[in-house]
Amino acid sequence: MAAKALLVLEDGTIFEGKPFGAPARSHGEVVFSTAMTGYQEMLTDPSFAGQVLVLTYPLAGNYGINRETVESKRIQVRGLIVHETCNLPSHWASDMTLHEYLASQDIPAIASVDTRALTRRLRTSGVMMGAITSDERIDAALARLRSVPSYGDTDLVREVTTDEPYEWERSSAAHRHIVVVDSGVKYNILRLLSDRGCRLTTVPAITSSEEVLSLKPDGIVFSPGPGDPAFLDYQVATIKSLIGKAPILGICLGHQVLGRAFGASTFKLKFGHRGANHPVNDVATGRVHITSQNHGYAVDSDRLSSDIEVSQVHLNDGTCEGLRHRTEPVISIQYHSEASPGPLDNVYVFDRFLEIIEKFEPTKGSAS
C-alpha cells in the first residue's frame, strides 16, 4: 500500500495521511460526525451514501467490527477519514478490524489526518466534495472531482433503496403490520418495531400509495435516507394521497419529504447535524431530549400548511426537528429515534406511533 494518501477538497485544501482500507480512489461529499462510539453503525447507515465520513473522535476501530452491528447490508460511506485507526482491536464480540472490514468492501480510508483541522474547515466553509487518492497528482484528483456529479446532483435514494419488497424477521406475536418505505432505512428501525410486536414489510422508495395501501398497513413509516429531499417529489405525491388512510411516521429524510408534502421547502444546512449529542426541545412539554442525528438538509417551516405544526425544535439552531398534523395521524421527526449509534432516549417515538395506530383503528374501519 502507498505510504501516503490524500484527501483533496474541492476548494483545493489538501489533508495528508496514511491509507488504509481498500487501496482505491474515491470521492464524495465530505461530512463530519461528532459521535464518539458507533463507527460501524455509521459506516453502514445508508444516510451516509455518497459521502466521505470524517470522525471527530480521534481513535477509531478500538473495539473492532462485529457482524451483527450493521444498519444495512453493506458499508454505505464512500470513504472514511480518521485521526487514528486501531489494528489491534479489543472486544469479545469483535470479528475483524476496521481496516479489514473496509478493505473487504472496497472502501478506502485515510488515517493520521488532523481531523480537527478538517472539521474546522468544513464548519467554516461548509461541507464540500472531496477526493481520496493515493496514486494521483493533486491537480489530477481535483480534475476528477470536477468531472464527477456533485453530491446534490444525484438522487442517492435510488442507490440505497431495496429493489424488491421484503419482510423483516417475522415475529409470530406480531399484531400490527407496518409498511416501511425504504429510502435508506436503518435496520434498527425494523428491529425496534419488530420488538414492539410489528410485522414489517419494507418496500422500495418509489412504491406508489396504491401499492402501499394494497399491503393493508396499520401504519406507514417513511424512512431516513441520503441526499436532497427535493429529488423525492415522487414520495411527496405518495404521502399526500396516504394522509388519513393510515398513521404515518416520517423519520429524517422521511420527515423532510413530509414537510414538503405540507408546503414547506427544504434547505441545505452549512455542515449538517451529525452526531449523538443533539438537544431537541419538545414544544408541547418543554422537555429536552438528547438525540442522534445525521442529516444535511432541514425543513423550512415558514411556509408550512396550517394543518401541521412544528412539534420539536433543535435547541442549538432552532431548526425544525419534528412535525405533527393537527387532525390526521401524521407525525415526523428529523432525528434518529432508532439511535444506533447514539442515545436510546427517543425510542419512545415508536411507542407513540403505535399508540396513534391504536387510536386510529375505528376511523380506519369506517374508511375502508
Binding site: 464518539m36 452526531g275 449523538a276
Partner: protein, 1030 residues
C-alpha cells in the same frame, strides 16, 4: 419550586486522602454560579487554603469547624432557606444528614437543594440502595446469606463463580475470601462459617477483573437528563477508582455497551430524584463467557451497578476538566430551579447546558500516590484509596496522553523508561498481577522483556487494548535505540508522547539536542482547544492542550501577558495552598491589565478552570512542556515572562531551565533563587549580612558528610537541596545513620548536594514577606507550637506569635528586611527561624539567638492563612511588585504589618489511617495532607476551634499511651501530672512506665509491639511528640 434566597453551602474541610482540592473547585464554582442567580450564599469551611473561603466568592464566609453544633449556630444566625449539601464531598453529605437527623433543617424551615436527604440515605445505605436498584430493574451483584455448608454450593451455582465469601461479624472480613472453583468454595465457606460468631456467611458474585466504567450524569427539576461523559478505569474492578488510571471517554466499549450503561445511568438518577450531578459506577463484563449476551440479541444485561455518588465528586471534577462542561456550576444553578436549557454553555456562548459534550481527544488521569514520602508504606492499591491527588493529560492519542500524564506526576526522574533496580533479578511480570503504584512500569518492563499484551492482560485484568498501546510505546523505544534519528521517526515518537528526555536517552542525545533537532526539523507541538463540541461550533474557550498535529489553534495572545506556572498534583508538602496562590497571581495580573496565562496539570483545582485565566494550557509542568508553550506564545522573538513563585517547588525548579533558555522570569531572578537554595552561596550571604544560621554545609559524598557532622556535632538535620515539604529530611543521631542516609539520598537528589545542618532544638517561627527589591513588608509572624525538627507544615502555627519576646520578633523582622533586598527578592519570600533562648529568659537578660533555617524566595504554604488572617492581599502585592511597582507605590509601609485583633491557629490534618505501614511519627519530613484554621478573640478559643476542625481534640476521658525518648522525659513530667489529674488512665512503654511509677502515679505497662499499632501511635502523637528521628 420557588427559588431560595439564602443558601448555605458546606465545604469539605481539610484536604485528606479521598477528599482533595476538587471540592474547592466545585464549591467556588457553585458560589459564583449562585451569586449570578441573585442568591445570597453563606459558606462554611474550616480550610483556609481555599479559593472558596476568599472574600468575594461567597457573600458570607465562615471559617469554622465543620460540626453539627457549629453549623446549627450559623444557621440560627444566618437563617438560610436552603442547604446545598452536594458540593462538599462526603463531609458535606454526612453533615447534611446529621443536620436533618438533629431536626435543625426542619426547625429552621430549610430545604435540602438538589439532592433530597432521603436520596442521600438511600445511596449511602447498602440495603436501601440495593432495594431501590432492584425495584427499577437495575442489576446489582447477586448475593445470598448462607448458614449451612450444603446450601453454599447451590447458591454459588445460581450467582456464579467466582464467589466472594464474607463471614458475618468478623473484624475486617477475617475468614472470608474468593472462591474460583466449587472445591475452593466449600473450603472457604467452611472456614467462613467457622469464623463467624453467628455461623453465617454472605455469598456474593465476585466482579474482580470486570471493567469498571463511570458515568457523570446531570438532571434538572424538569426531569431533563444528560450524561456529561463516561470514563473507563484501566485498572479493572478491585482497585478504587481514585487509585485507578482512568481514561475518558471509554475506549473499549462498543456503542451498544456505551448506550446501555448510559440509559441505566439516566434511569438511576431519575429514580433517585437527584436535581444536579451524580456519579454512577458500573462493572461491565469483559469477556463473552461472562457476558452471556450478544449485541441486539438481548439476554441478561452484562453489567452491575456498583456505586452511586449523589453529589459532585472527584470524578465530576475530572469530567468537568476532561470535557469543559462545568458540572458544579450547572449543578448549583439546577439546585435553585434552573433547567438545563436555561443555562448557557459558556464555552460556545451560543448553545446551552442541555447537550452532551463531544470529545475529540483522549484524556488520561493518573493518581499521585504518597509512597515517595512513605517508602515503607503498603503500596498495594485496593478498595481503600491512597492517592493524595491526581494529574490529567489531554492528547489526540492514548499513548501521548498517558506519556504526558506520567511527566505530570513529577516523580523526579521516573519517566516511562524507569525500572525498579530489583527487576534486574526478579521478573517484572511478578509485579503485574498485583495492583500497586508501580504496576504501569512493571507492565512496560515486562513488554520490554518480550511479554505479550495478551499474557499481561490475563495477569492484570487490564483490557488488551491498553496493553497493545503500551506495547506501541515500547516498540518505539526499540526503534529509537536501533535506528538513526530522522525527522519522520522523531515526529512519530512525539506523536506517541515520548518526551525529549526519553528520546535523548534512547537515541543517545542530550534533551537539549533533541529540542534543537525538533526546532530544526519543525517537529513542534500545536495546541488544540477543549471546546465541548469537537469543533462543531466556534468556541471562545481559552483552554488548550498540546499535540503533534498540523493545525495550531492557540495563536499567541496579543499585548502584555505573563505565564503563571501552577503547582501540579496535590501531594504531601505541596497542597492546595499553592493553587490558591497561582489563582490569585492570575487575577492580580488581570487587575494590572496583563493577560494571565496559566499552565497546570491538576484537574482538581480552581487554577485549571478555563475562566480563571485568559488562557489555560493543560500541560505537564516540566521544562519541555513549559518551553514549548512559551515558544507558542512567542511573538517577535520574545516569549511572555514566567512567574515561578506561586507554584511551589514545581514552579521554582523551572527557574533555572527557563533562565538557561533565555526565557524571562518575572520577580526574583533565577540567581536569587539559586543563592537561597545553594548552601555555600547562602552561607556566604548570611556571613556578609551578619545573620546567624545553624552551622552546616552542602555535601556530595559520604566522607564529606561524615567530616561535616563531626565538626558541627550530632544530632544533625540532613536533607536534599531543591525539594519541598521536607522530602527525605531527617534528624540523624550518629555516623552509621548518616552513611545510610547519604547513600540513599544520592538517588533521590539526582546530582544535587545534600545539606547537613546542626539540629537546633529551639522554638521555630516563620515569616512571610513581600519585598520590592528595596523594602520589605512582613504581614505577620507565625510561631510553631511544636519545636524545631517537626516540619513546619506539620506544626500547629499561631498568629500572632504570642509566645515570642519582642527582641526575638524584632530580630526576625530585621533579618527578613535585610535578607530580601540582599537576595534580590522581588515578590514573596518565606523565612524559617529557630530561636535559642537563654534559660531563664529575663527582660533584662541576654537576648535570644535567632538563626535562619532557610529562605524560600517564593510563596509558601502559609500565604492563604496569613492573607486571610491579616487582610494583606499578599499575592496581589507580590505580583504588583514583580510588575515594577514599589511597596510605597502600593501604599504599604515596610516592616511588620500591624497586629490584628484576633488569634488564629493553623492545624495540620493527617490521613494516616488510609495508609498502612506508614510511620505516623512526626519529624522533619512533612506528613500532613491538609490544614484547618481556627480563629477567635482568644488564643485558647482559636486553638480549640483548630483542634476540633482537625479532629485532633483529646477525648474527655480514656487512656493515654506515653512512649517517650529519654531526653524528653524530664520536660514531660508536668504534662503527665496534669493528664493524671484530669482523670486519664495512663499507659506507657517500659521506660516511660518506670518513670511514671517513680512519680507515684498509676500506670499500665504495654509492650512496644502493641504500641506500634497505628491507633496507639496516633493517640500517642497527639499527646507528645519528640522529634528525635529514629
Amino acid at each position: 419550586m420557588s427559588k431560595p434566597s439564602r443558601v448555605l453551602i458546606i465545604g469539605s474541610g481539610p484536604i485528606v486522602i479521598g477528599q482533595a482540592a476538587e471540592f474547592d473547585y466545585s464549591g467556588s464554582q457553585a458560589c459564583r454560579s449562585l451569586r449570578e442567580e441573585g442568591v445570597h450564599t453563606v459558606l462554611v469551611n474550616s480550610n483556609p487554603a481555599t479559593i472558596m473561603t476568599d472574600e468575594g466568592i461567597a457573600d458570607t464566609i465562615y471559617i469554622e469547624p465543620l460540626t453539627v453544633d457549629i453549623i446549627s449556630r450559623i444557621i440560627e444566625r444566618e437563617r438560610p432557606d436552603g442547604l446545598l449539601p452536594t458540593l462538599g464531598g462526603q463531609t458535606g453529605l454526612n453533615l447534611a444528614v446529621a443536620l436533618a437527623d438533629s431536626g435543625v433543617l426542619d426547625c429552621f424551615d430549610m430545604r435540602s437543594l438538589g439532592t433530597p436527604i432521603e436520596t442521600i440515605r438511600a445511596a449511602e445505605d447498602r440495603e436501601l440502595f440495593r432495594d431501590l436498584l432492584i425495584s427499577i430493574g437495575e442489576p446489582v451483584p447477586e448475593s445470598e446469606i448462607v448458614t449451612e455448608l450444603d446450601h453454599a454450593r447451590s447458591v454459588a451455582k445460581r450467582i456464579g463463580l467466582p464467589t466472594v465469601v464474607r463471614p458475618a461479624y468478623t473484624l475486617g472480613g477475617t475468614g472470608g475470601g474468593i472462591a474460583h472453583t466449587f472445591d475452593e468454595l466449600e473450603h472457604v465457606s467452611r472456614g467462613g462459617l467457622a469464623a463467624s460468631p453467628i455461623h453465617q456467611v454472605l455469598l456474593e458474585r465476585s466482579l474482580l477483573g470486570w471493567k469498571e466504567i463511570e458515568y457523570e450524569v446531570m438532571r434538572d427539576g424538569a426531569d431533563n437528563c444528560i450524561t456529561v461523559c463516561n470514563m473507563e478505569n484501566i485498572d479493572p474492578m478491585g482497585v478504587h477508582t481514585g487509585d485507578s488510571i482512568v481514561v475518558a471517554p471509554s475506549q473499549t466499549l462498543s456503542d451498544k455497551e456505551y448506550q446501555m450503561l448510559r440509559s441505566a445511568s439516566l434511569k438511576i438518577i431519575r429514580a433517585l430524584g437527584i436535581e444536579g450531578g451524580c456519579n454512577i459506577q458500573f462493572a461491565l463484563a469483559p469477556r463473552r463467557e461472562i457476558a452471556e449476551w450478544e449485541p441486539g440479541a438481548g439476554g441478561r444485561p452484562p453489567y452491575y451497578v456498583i456505586e452511586v455518588n449523589p453529589r459532585v465528586s472527584r470524578s465530576s471534577a475530572l469530567a468537568s476538566k476532561a470535557t469543559g462542561y462545568p458540572i458544579a456550576r450547572v449543578a448549583a444553578k439546577i439546585a435553585v430551579g434552573k433547567t438545563l436549557d436555561q443555562i448557557p454553555n459558556r464555552v460556545t456562548g451560543k448553545t446551552t447546558a442541555a447537550f452532551e459534550p463531544a470529545l475529540d481527544y483522549c484524556v488520561v488521569k493518573i493518581p499521585r500516590w504518597p509512597f515517595d514520602k512513605f517508602p515503607l508504606g503498603e503500596r498495594c492499591t485496593g478498595t481503600q484509596m491512597k492517592a493524595t491527588g491526581e494529574v490529567m493529560a489531554i492528547d489526540r492519542s492514548f499513548e501521548a496522553a498517558l506519556g504526558k500524564a506520567v511527566r505530570s506526576l513529577e516523580f523526579g526522574s521516573r519517566s516511562l523508561l524507569w525500572e525498579d533496580p530489583a527487576w534486574r533479578d526478579i521478573d517484572p511480570r511478578d509485579y503485574v498481577g498485583i495492583p500497586t503504584d508501580e504496576r504501569l512500569w512493571a507492565v512496560l518492563a515486562s513488554l520490554r522483556r518480550g511479554a505479550t499484551p495478551e499474557e499481561l492482560s490475563q495477569m492484570s485484568g487490564v483490557d488488551p487494548w491498553f496493553l497493545h498501546k503500551l506495547n506501541a510505546i515500547v516498540r518505539m523505544e526499540g526503534r529509537l535505540l536501533a535506528e538513526s534519528l530522522t525527522p519522520d521517526l522523531l515526529r512519530e515518537a512525539k506523536r506517541l508522547g515520548l518526551p525529549d528526555t526519553d528520546i535523548g536517552t534512547l537515541a543517545d542525545r542530550l534533551p537539549e539536542q533533541v529540542r534543537y533537532l525538533r526546532e530544526e526539523w519543525g517537529v513542534l507541538p500545536v495546541y488544540k482547544m477543549v471546546d465541548t463540541c469537537a469543533a462543531e461550533f466556534e468556541a471562545e474557550t481559552p483552554y488548550f492542550y498540546s499535540t503533534y498535529d498540523s493545525e495550531n489553534e492557540a495563536i499567541a495572545l496579543a499585548g502584555q501577558k505573563a505565564l503563571v506556572v501552577g503547582s501540579g498534583p496535590i501531594r504531601i508538602g505541596q497542597g492546595i495552598e499553592f493553587d490558591y496562590s497561582a489563582v490569585h497571581a492570575a487575577w492580580a495580573l488581570q487587575e494590572a491589565g496583563v493577560a494571565a496565562i496559566i499552565a497546570n496539570s491538576n484537574p482538581e483545582t480552581v487554577s485549571t478552570d478555563f475562566d480563571t485565566s485568559d488562557r489555560l494550557y493543560f500541560e505537564p509542568l516540566d521544562e519541555e512542556g513549559i518551553r514549548d508553550l512559551l515558544g507558542n506564545e512567542t511573538t517577535n522573538g520574545t516569549g511572555p515572562p514566567s512567574i515561578v513563585q506561586f507554584g511551589g517547588q514545581t514552579a521554582i525548579n523551572l527557574a533555572w531551565p527557563l533562565a538557561r533558555a533565555n526565557q524571562p522570569i518575572l520577580g526574583s531572578s533565577a540567581e536569587a533563587i539559586d543563592i537561597a537554595e545553594d548552601r555555600s552561596r547562602f552561607e556566604e550571604l548570611l556571613q556578609r549580612l551578619g545573620i546567624p544560621q545553624p552551622p552546616g554545609a552542602a555535601v556530595n559524598a559520604v566522607e564529606h558528610a561524615l567530616s561535616t557532622a563531626q565538626l558541627i556535632g550530632y544530632p544533625v538535620l540532613v536533607r536534599p537541596s531543591y525539594v519541598l515539604g521536607g522530602r527525605a529530611m531527617e534528624i540523624v543521631q550518629n555516623p552509621r545513620d548518616l552513611i545510610r542516609y547519604v547513600t540513599n539520598a544520592v538517588e533521590i537528589a539526582a546530582g544535587k548536594p545534600i545539606l547537613i545542618d546542626k539540629y537546633l532544638e529551639g522554638i521555630e517561627a516563620e515569616v512571610d514577606a513581600i519585598c520590592d527589591g528595596q523594602q520589605t513588608l512582613i504581614p505577620g509572624v507565625m510561631e510553631h507550637i511544636e519545636r524545631a525538627g517537626v516540619h513546619s507544615g506539620d506544626s500547629l502555627a499561631v498568629y500572632p506569635a504570642i509566645g515570642l519576646h519582642p527582641d526575638e520578633v524584632e530580630k526576625m523582622i530585621d533579618y527578613t528586611a535585610r535578607l530580601g533586598p540582599a537576595l534580590g527578592v522581588k515578590g514573596l519570600m518565606n523565612v524559617q527561624y529557630v530561636i535559642m533562648r537563654p534559660e531563664p529568659k529575663r527582660p533584662d537578660g541576654p537576648p535570644s539567638d535567632v538563626y535562619v533555617l532557610e529562605v524560600n524566595p517564593r510563596a509558601s504554604r502559609t500565604v492563604p492563612f496569613l492573607s486571610k488572617v491579616t487582610g494583606v492581599p499578599m499575592v496581589r502585592l507580590a505580583v504588583q511588585v514583580m510588575l515594577g511597582k514599589t511597596l510605597a507605590d502600593l501604599g504599604y509601609e515596610p516592616g511588620l504589618w500591624p497586629r490584628q485583633n484576633l488569634f488564629a491557629v493553623k492545624a495540620p490534618v493527617f490521613s494516616m489511617s488510609k495508609l498502612i505501614g506508614v510511620d505516623t511519627h512526626l519529624g522533619p519530613e512533612m506528613k500532613s495532607t491538609g490544614e484547618v484554621m481556627g480563629v477567635d478573640h482568644t488564643f485558647e478559643a482559636a486553638l480549640a476551634k483548630a483542634l476540633t476542625a482537625a479532629d485532633m481534640s483529646l477525648p474527655r476521658k480514656g487512656s493515654i499511651l506515653l512512649s517517650l525518648a529519654d531526653s524528653t522525659k524530664p520536660e514531660a513530667l508536668g504534662l503527665i501530672r496534669d493528664l493524671a489529674a484530669a482523670g486519664y488512665r495512663l499507659c506507657a512503654t517500659a521506660g516511660t512506665a518506670a518513670m511514671i511509677r517513680a512519680m507515684d502515679l498509676k500506670v499500665e505497662q504495654v509492650p512496644k509491639r502493641i504500641a506500634r499499632r497505628p491507633g496507639y501511635r496516633d493517640a500517642a502523637r497527639r499527646l507528645r511528640n519528640s522529634p528525635r528521628g529514629r
